[in-house]
Subunit: 455 residues, 2 copies
């Protein structure tokens, strides 16, 4: 046999610290602002987040220790394997070497448990006995349900009603892990009751589900709120992906020329690329020409088409203002199947790094992502989630450029999750029922007129 | 950190040979018989199976080499990890040590690709360009679709119509891997057309789907048939499971006292236990008291309640007669959710070993298996397939006996697959809609009256 297909690490090689990219950024991160235009004092956030996570959120320390209990829980699926895509390379006939980090092997089937587990742990440590969160299709809700179960923290998930009704399988998954799942709007919060009073047939929205979860967290001393992307501490936890990938590539004497990852809220992208940015910051010669590419949907292209400005993190304007690339908080993206990438903005850390030209971004259309996903599944066996198909698309495009130029680049992408709960999307792709959305210029221009005024 | 959670092997440790239990059986296997009561000559089977697989089917050689191309394809997911169920042990409060072999990590999500891959390879080698098979819920069909794609063999799957309509996700999975999927009865075979002529609303059955697949294979020179369980060569291929598990346990100085595996057609059970039977046969002292337990559903208890007799392998009587534990070929098991265990008989090899008291069997009721599956998911994260829940149930029962007696037994079970495509079953379990079938004594007694006369 030739070079291995999977590069494995032992459990004792699970990173002992998360990497905080803030320590290596050319400028300090722009702070979140309150409605008065002044930085939000951390104590205001204590109603819904524990102090230990807020400390991580504000930290500029380069390395933050991973508690033993979290590393212990990570062992259920980590370190995740790094794959060499021998068969995909052959199928493409490319001289490029393609590697992928397989985060699909977690119990919930994506990278989300990397942060759900420490969030449950730190809340438990802070004396919190219950977490509330929102979920759309269910990727994040199921990850938090799993994580809560690991540490005996109850989990209450507000699931957008239309998904609750149409996608019962992620709901059953959350229940299997012991979470309570409510169709949102629900009758257990004021926000939900108000919505139902206006319209008993309300099908829900992510914005409304956030309101319900935040209300639960703010109104009960034993309950906190948990978010699956965007925030600094979430991206911090995800750096286990890149830290492991660096170890794995080093074992076989490799270093990437380019890294690709899908980018919605920014957590899996930050998770795989930040530890490589550290090499750039340290002036490591092998990272000199390294390119880091965020891949977003053409229908929701916050980095490539948005503006860099202060905007709300949610659709309805409950959150503090965050400086980020945004399409406008009330921009409603087309109904693409990569639900995890349908976010109007982007993580403030990713946004600032993009603004400072330390990372790149590219937008790809929906049909081309499914085409790449099917090609990948036929070569490598694993059926990728629609979100993951975005990173695969961009990586295949680069591999095909290498075929033309003859370059033997080393490419790495983040396989963020499997598509086992997304087969209806593949079904629609095969039957020709999927739309291939263009950039929705007019809708974006409209919503950008509603950006909040700052200061 | 304490003892590891996952015991891993490197790719070069993938077994180089499959283990053939026939070499170590006290008596030669009872041969399949034709309608005349005489052993079926192998050349009669050449219409639907390639010579190289038939050779394996009849072989008494102890070790059969795994071709390099098959080991290469195995590397996409093998060696599979062996897990120590630390959290399940803690949850149960048992002094027993619990290990499980995780076959859920294959691309198709179960142990089935272990044989689908070599079957596709050997057929390709024999000049066959297409395989036909039947599938119920889709576990086997999707595994063969994946395997066919690996070696450029086209795959045509006849999927029972009621599943084709109600369970579209496994169908989409097969299409993602490039297979053609037909609702059975279809209009591309005579058997299908006849059935549709009688009843255009025919919802299909596994027996009818087998007829369609076998007709395709028998009537086209370029097409063969592939079966996912029961036959000797299928069980042979599955021994990679047990061979790896032995290596993994040896690495940490362990040897099991008991092994549990679900048993329907017998392939995953044979796959994990046969290599340990080899130790018994060789008089290895550490295997002296080893107990090997096949776990079957109370509603379809072929080993524990059936008779040991010659019977047809299929419901309609197309196949040769095989000597096996059977409930009667026309026994229709209740609609339990572990579809893979709804088989009226059992593999001839497993049956003979049971008859000779080298292995044991136990039957468990449906609700108790889901209870065990949920307990396992909450402790270990992985949501098991309903079939796998049977092995988990019996293993937990033994662990609880150990709690009472204080015995520190080492227990091993085969986690045959994940439940991502079975969440509707979990949903029904949580909502109280699942039945807990008793042993269907009267139905079995009726069907046993229809056993074929031999000789």
């Amino acid at each position: 046999m030739s070079e291995p297909t999977k590069i494995l690490l032992e459990e004792h090689e699970i990173p002992t610290h998360w990497y905080n990219v803030v320590a290596d950024m050319p400028n300090p991160p722009a702070p979140p602002l309150g409605p008065d235009g002044q930085p939000v004092p951390p104590e205001k956030m204590l109603a819904i987040f524990p102090g230990n996570l807020l400390e991580q959120e504000m930290s500029a320390e380069r390395w933050i220790a991973i508690p033993g209990e979290v590393r212990e829980a990570y062992r259920l699926w980590r370190p995740s394997p790094l794959y060499r895509a021998h068969r995909l390379e052959q199928m493409l006939g490319t001289p490029a070497k393609i590697y992928y980090k397989n985060e699909a092997i977690s119990p919930a089937g994506s990278h989300k448990p990397n942060t759900a587990v420490p969030q449950a742990f730190f809340n438990k440590q802070a004396g919190i006995s219950r977490l509330a969160t929102e979920t759309g299709a269910g990727q994040w809700g199921s990850s938090l349900a799993f994580a809560g179960q690991m540490f005996g923290v109850a989990v209450r998930v507000f699931m957008v009603k239309v998904s609750y009704d149409q996608k019962p399988f992620r709901r059953s998954m959350m229940q299997t892990w012991g979470a309570e799942v409510f169709a949102s709007p629900s009758d257990i919060t004021q926000a939900g009751r108000d919505a139902l009073a206006k319209d008993p047939e309300n099908q829900g929205s992510l914005g409304l589900a956030i309101s319900e979860a935040v209300e639960e967290a703010a109104s009960r001393a034993d309950t906190n709120y948990a978010l699956g992307s965007v925030l600094n501490h979430v991206l911090l936890h995800q750096t286990v992906i890149g830290l492991e990938a660096k170890q794995q590539l080093a074992k076989i004497g490799e270093y990437p020329d380019m890294i690709f990852a899908p980018c919605g809220g920014g957590s899996n992208f930050g998770g795989i690329v930040f530890p490589f940015l550290a090499d750039k910051a340290a002036g490591d010669p092998k990272a000199k020409n390294l390119r880091l590419v965020a891949v977003e949907p053409m229908s929701c292209p916050s980095l490539t088409k948005g503006v860099y400005a202060y905007d709300f993190g949610d659709a309805t304007g409950y959150t503090p203002l965050m400086k980020m690339y945004t399409l406008g908080h009330d921009f409603m993206p087309p109904g693409i199947h990569a639900g995890g990438l349908r976010y109007h903005g982007d993580s403030p850390l990713v946004s600032q790094l993009y603004h400072e030209k330390l990372i790149e971004a590219v937008a790809v259309p929906q049909l081309a992502t499914f085409e790449a996903g099917v090609q990948f599944a036929r070569a490598e066996g694993i059926i990728p989630a629609p979100e993951s198909c975005h990173g695969i698309r961009a990586c295949i495009d680069e591999a095909m450029r290498c075929k033309q130029t003859g370059e033997k680049k080393t490419l790495l992408f983040n396989l963020t999750g499997h598509g086992h709960f997304d087969m209806a999307s593949y079904d629609r792709y095969f039957s020709g029922a999927l739309d291939d959305y263009d950039y929705p210029r007019e809708a974006v221009e409209r919503s950008l007129q509603h950006l909040p005024k700052v200061g």
